[in-house]
């Protein structure tokens, strides 16, 4: 199983522990990844706000790099997945769009032949949950995990299409396979607030505290997310959000591959938990890890 690996900006910037844990987990599971070292930012929907064609060109450029080595792309960022899925769908389906965008590229052309898949989808479908179950050596028993999907891995569902946006199940089934108990709460498909944290901090912090408090009330020991932007907002801004809401939140936020890594026997200190602002020590203690 081989994929062209698109690390995205966050795992190369503020969330190096995501890149680190992804590499360890894929290596241990035998999923071969070839990093697209020349790939750029996907635009995150922000570049598209100013110039939709520019965002399409940046993504077509990345797609052409994967096409050249004949591999589908693996993403580890919910936002990247949403933007790249949307771009790919448009490039493949809209008449006349691909030649026009290719006209903006110099180093390679995109022929509309690759798919873009999130690590979560690859683990659930391509690798397979049954196979993953066989690799679990440290079942996460006794741990209650709140899945936090975020927006772009689910919506717009007309393009993403892996999970039912009204009733997603991929994170829940993955959490169960790893031996932990997934908990249910309404906020699991809501927005983390990250896109406006810098300009509308009050609204964004309100989202952080509302989602975390809901998970906490439902009995969660930690939250797990397939999106590093959600991770940034829920982890980095958690203390601030708690102060604003007048509540102590102390909820460890775990990247998807970190949770998988714990269960398949990778040492916790290798998974980069020390980089989190909210310490997951309580969770690791509970696991006896």
């Amino acid at each position: 199983m081989r994929f062209a690996y698109y690390p995205g900006c966050a795992s190369k910037g503020a969330c190096p522990e995501l890149n680190q844990s992804t590499r360890l987990v894929t290596e241990k599971l035998g999923i071969e990844i070839v990093e697209l070292v020349k790939s750029s930012c996907c635009g995150a929907g922000v570049i598209g706000e100013a110039d939709p064609d520019l965002q399409l060109a940046l993504n077509a450029r990345t797609f052409s790099q994967a096409e050249e080595i004949g591999l589908d792309i693996m993403t580890i960022c919910g936002t990247g997945q949403g933007i790249m899925s949307t771009s790919n769908e448009r490039l493949k389906e809209e008449e006349g769009l691909l030649p026009r965008i290719n006209g903006m590229l110099k180093e390679g052309q995109y022929n509309g032949r690759i798919d873009v898949k999130h690590l979560l989808w690859i683990l659930v479908k391509d690798f397979g949950l049954e196979r993953l179950k066989e690799r679990v050596v440290r079942p996460l028993s006794g741990i209650r995990v709140a899945p936090f999907y975020g927006c772009y891995i689910l919506r717009p569902s007309s393009v993403l299409g892996f999970d039912d946006p009204e009733k997603p199940n991929s994170l829940e089934s993955l959490i169960s396979i790893l031996g932990a108990e997934p908990i249910d709460y309404i906020g699991k498909t809501k927005c983390c607030g990250f896109p406006i944290i810098l300009e509308k901090e009050d609204i964004a912090l309100g989202m952080v505290s509302a989602n975390i408090l809901e998970a906490k009330d439902a009995g969660a020991d930690c939250m797990v997310t397939p999106c590093p932007l959600c991770h940034m907002n829920l982890d980095i801004y958690q203390e601030k959000a708690g102060a604003r809401a007048g509540k102590r939140l102390s909820m460890p936020i775990i990247h998807l591959p970190q949770l998988v890594g714990l269960a398949i026997g990778i040492e916790p200190r290798e998974l980069g938990f020390s980089r989190h602002l909210v310490s997951p020590a309580s969770l690791l203690d509970k696991l006896g890890a």
Partner: protein, 310 residues
Amino acid sequence: MRVRLSIQRFNPALEEKPRFMSYRVEVPRSATVLEALVRIKEEVDGALAFRASCRQAICGSCSMEINGHEKLACKTQVLTEIDRHGEIKIAPLKNMRIVKDLVADMGPFWHKVRDITPWLIPEGYGTIAISPSTMKAFDNSDACIMCGACLAACNSNEVSEGFLGPAALAKSNRFIADPREGNKKERLLNLQDENGIWDCVRCNFCVEVCPKDVKPMEQIIKLRRASIQEGIRWTKGSRHITGFLDIVRREGRLNEAAMPLKIIGTDIAGILRIIPLGIRMLIKGKVPLHYKRGIEGIKDIRRIFRERGL
């Protein structure tokens, strides 16, 4: 077929809080949720309150929360819902005051739409021919039936009830797209403040629930683009976009640590406020310091930006 519906009942004049009641009714396999509700009202409980009128997704009256998501009862089939969710659970639109049972107070929703001046302010008088290509610019923003589903689903509105919200802003773009409109710049200027276009968090819920494919979030994005093109660039929201472009053009990737300064600019108090968190991030190794040269292949990325005039 015989189906069970769990319906939220609440009479604020008599009760402290809402409760769910269960109803069993016989409906045809092709029944919509609205048909089931009508049957309950006619045959089981005449006191059940809900709004409905056209029964064909034109009037927007019967929007409600069906299995946790905003839908028109007349456009939603009983069987499809049971297949998808295993049950049918109905509540009024959320984040609105409940008048009775499934009837939500739409007052604040109407006021938000009124606040964007939802009528044409023409530039002079005369005849303007509207071609099919001109109609394309409306991009369905004129298809709204004012059902309020998008506002109930809006994540920003949930934590900040002053936000104008998806329907009102999509309506606003309907006039920006109209070649007859003479007040475009002022319309945009009125949307820059608190509660305007920059409060949208781009969660896509409005796009997902809209029964008429208005794609409100996409309309808000167009308003943001139009604002920047009109030279309205002093808001933090517009600086987020221009700053983001600057960083990616220079480095090929977004450096999150460089974003705050792009947005705060030279506001000393603002800079002082972000320093404590910045230091904690630095200690935790969350501030990348190696971007300056740019990623491999940065020259090609800069070329693409340059050819776009950026």
